[in-house]
Subunit: 94 residues, 2 copies
C-alpha cells in the first residue's frame, strides 16, 4: 500500500506536473475545453483510466468549458505516489 507523502515530497513531485497544485490536502488541476461535449469526453476518459488503474479521483467535476480533477488517497490519509502517478496519466488523456 502507498504511504502518505509529506508536503515537501508532494511539492517535489508536482514540479514534474505543470498545472497541478496542492489544495486542501489534495492535488488538483483544472483543464479547459472549447465545448461541453469535450469536457464530458475528457471526464469519461479520466473515469475509464481510473477504473482500470483502480485508483479514482476524489473529485472529477465537469463545469462549463472546464473539468477539475482532484486526487488524494483516503486509505493513506493523504496524497501518495499513486496520486502523483494518476495525475501524470491524466495529463496524457487531454
Amino acid at each position: 500500500m502507498a504511504t502518505k507523502l509529506d508536503e515537501s515530497e508532494i511539492l517535489s513531485g508536482l514540479q514534474d506536473l505543470p498545472g497541478w497544485a496542492l489544495e486542501g490536502g489534495r492535488i488538483e488541476k483544472t483543464f479547459t475545453f472549447a465545448s461541453y461535449p469535450e469536457c464530458v469526453a475528457f471526464a469519461v476518459k479520466v473515469a475509464l483510466h481510473a477504473e482500470k488503474a483502480d485508483h479514482h479521483p476524489d473529485s472529477l467535476e465537469i463545469m462549463w468549458g472546464k473539468v477539475k480533477v482532484a486526487y488524494v488517497t483516503h486509505s493513506a490519509g493523504g496524497v501518495t505516489r499513486l496520486d502523483l502517478e494518476a495525475a501524470a496519466q491524466v495529463d496524457t488523456l487531454v
Copy 2:
C-alpha cells in the same frame, strides 16, 4: 429567456423535488450509487440530457459512490424555471 426566480419561488419549486436544496445560490442534489461505474454512467446520462436540452449543470461532480449535480442560470443571474425543470429531468435519469 428565463428570468431569475426569487427565493420563495425557488423554495416553492423545490417542494416537488425531493433531495434538491438551494445552496450558495444554486440548486443542488447529491445522488448515491453502489459503484464508480454507476456514478459515471449517471453523470454521462445527465450530460447527454443537458446537451440535448441546451441547459447544462453549473457543476456535475463525480466522487466515490456519489454524484453531485448543481444548476443555476448564469445568464439570468440566478436560479430560473429552467433549472427546476432540469432538476426534475435529472431525477428521472437515476
